[in-house]
Symmetry: C2
Subunit: 493 residues, 2 copies
Amino acid sequence: MSKGLPKRSEDYSLWYNELVKRADLAENSAVRGCMVIKPYGYSIWEKMQAELDRMFKETGHVNAYFPLFIPKSYLSKEASHVEGFAKECAVVTHYRLKNAEDGSGVIVDPEAKLEEELIVRPTSETVIWSTYKNWVQSYRDLPLLINQWANVVRWEMRTRLFLRTAEFLWQEGHTAHATKSEAEAETLQMMEIYAQFAEEFMALPVVRGRKTASERFAGADDTLCIEAMMQDGKALQAGTSHFLGQNFAKAFEVKFATKEGGLDYVWGTSWGVSTRLMGALIMAHSDDNGLVLPPKLAPFQVVIVPIYRSDEELEAVSVKAKELMKSLRAAGISVKFDDRDTQKPGWKFAEYELKGVPVRIAVGPRDLENGTIEIARRDTLTKEQFELSSLPIEQKIAALLDEIQTYIYTKASQFKGEMTTEVNSWEEFKEVLNQKGGFLSAHWDGTAETEEKIKDLTKATIRCIPLNRKEESGKCILTGLPSEGRVLFAKSY
Amino acid sequence: MSKGLPKRSEDYSLWYNELVKRADLAENSAVRGCMVIKPYGYSIWEKMQAELDRMFKETGHVNAYFPLFIPKSYLSKEASHVEGFAKECAVVTHYRLKNAEDGSGVIVDPEAKLEEELIVRPTSETVIWSTYKNWVQSYRDLPLLINQWANVVRWEMRTRLFLRTAEFLWQEGHTAHATKSEAEAETLQMMEIYAQFAEEFMALPVVRGRKTASERFAGADDTLCIEAMMQDGKALQAGTSHFLGQNFAKAFEVKFATKEGGLDYVWGTSWGVSTRLMGALIMAHSDDNGLVLPPKLAPFQVVIVPIYRSDEELEAVSVKAKELMKSLRAAGISVKFDDRDTQKPGWKFAEYELKGVPVRIAVGPRDLENGTIEIARRDTLTKEQFELSSLPIEQKIAALLDEIQTYIYTKASQFKGEMTTEVNSWEEFKEVLNQKGGFLSAHWDGTAETEEKIKDLTKATIRCIPLNRKEESGKCILTGLPSEGRVLFAKSY
């Protein structure tokens, strides 16, 4: 199965595309730019959803559902929002088909034209704030802490499975608050939840940062983000959390009676992560043999493969395998027992390597005699003979899964460290960017002009102004003008 | 809050609409026919989803995700499917907006016209079977047991919250099998899962049945369904499971190498339930005071309302309430403690009655003295003083929740029994239909013509041929022609 997977060092982009398809994660559909998320890929997404949803609810958020369609005029209500989103989008203009008179199939019925076109939501601020208008009268109605899990559509011209697709799945939180400080705290909290999720579950270390003004969400006063480093030295924005100020409240006239008896516009935030996280997960950890999945998000954490030559051997081995499976499941470890007789063990080994199953157990007749099993780790590709009498199997595997989760995180974290370089001159900037890639920590004069110029010259953008950066006066690498601290540049997905 | 809720006996339809809005379940959006599912309503849907998803997975199904858009030509590939679905639907014709030259806002860019229009999925058979074509080569690739949770759009002209909306949420299962009998067994299994879900979780008794040929899903060889009875004597189709034969396999050329070395078309099924179940749940159990929710689907099962006059009293009562809450939560019972000081207890009582919270506990200073609490049931609207020393609170409430779940089901079941009438003549049919409504169990000659004629004359349709009907020869109520058994007629949603 993994035979022929391109090598990362030769063609990282091809390696990614092939891996996504061969590991049964997703594929392109017949509809341009739209993907099919296959069951194995979707079950990873379900695990992500479950953890994020739990984290959202623990911080007081509830889920709701808002319409797929947005009246065209809504997009125009918030001035900068329309610039950002009312461009490449799917436009519904008609509501009926009819049979073609020549019998050639169905055609759009010209008489069923909508008075106002509908846009398939690229994001839901407008439709949600138009709804909030009716939900908020008094400070007693605040805060609104609402999230939705939904599909959205942005008509991307160049698409890539998970990373950039016309339709994608995501969650979008939209909150409304009585005070600026409360909304700012919410913005920060949600970025921190994304960072924790990435680090704890995806084993993906991230930089917590703030976008520059030109990289902000269209309609936001401030955008916080988490940025991750991929193995090819490119950065990937993994989640964003926006402080919307009173922009959408003003656009949709959402006012409330304050405790003090006044009338004020509501303060807002929005925040989202998408199936793009799947792309980040795949690219951050996988190798030339296939996927490497952190145990906390693996569809199944352990696979048991029986080794046998005869039906009798299979039967004897299966008894042992089922016993192991029972012990592991009782301990909350997910296990698959692959006793298919249509494939050989070697084929199965390659298959589960490709699919990134964290732990593989092999049991054969000799193991039954010796009271052993073979345990293989996907992350390090190492194997060991394990004596079953030495430790209860569920303790052994639980500890191993923890170790793998930590190992993957640590490896990615070291890589991110190695791939973050302080540069102090324009020459150095260009050289490091082209030779090594990664994050370039450099001084910048704070102007959009310089930011734009560096992007034009090098394709590197300011990924973020790290939240934990130290104040350090310096000189802009391009202009030499004064700077208050370093920002992170990188080429990015 | 419940003041002014219309009475069911006066205007059932208005009662339903008002209840849905006032209980914070859903509301109409600015986009015609599309609803906003509010957090309280959505949390009931989430509970439905969780149980159904568990039942699907326990029977070997996995989730995946297919595109929102369907190329127009796909709809034409299955002849009867196109008749059923390629009519009222949302059609995407363009992929870009641009700024109007007169500055009036954004307009559709005429240069961004799609070569082939895209339909927002009304159901996904076509896009899924076009994908299955690539996934199935051999009998080893079968069965495919895949479900998706998704939004779909059918451009309904007359919409009603939850019952009939242009966009709705649902799950759609799409399975592919090597044999006819396996696909038929799957069709039956999924109908049975829907029936069990309705009865066990929604406390909604249903008739398991088969649709007549004219009521079948467009593209199916057989449609099984569950039908429920609402309080106004109208039936509601709550779920359907379709045996697709080889129709979609033939339309999309999905063939497989059989075990025996031949080549055959794949057999298919599809099955779905939607947010329509919310409508069924609301209409089946609720009363003139508001919602009545079965404990197994209630967002929270118990609400604790403190009774107090001073801050000191609130503090003392809160200590007790939190203690109760802790015991209940430890036993897996969901509880809300409403200590808002902005509303009076009487207001809260009415609010939670309207919202259908199964059990309400009130605790006041006198209760603290006496070691009692007041427990009120939403279903029967009865109250009792409960001595806390008599039984651990979690045992008391757990038993009470079971009792409520059973009571609601039994009540609905008795009602369904009373509302099912055997009729044996055309006069009787018309009289019962107009005076009493409900299910009319009657003989029918088996022809589509008679079925159509009865529908034209009375608006009653054949809801289903019950699966458990006894063979009984009789004469068609309209034509007098011979019949092999009774079918169920009703007016319906």
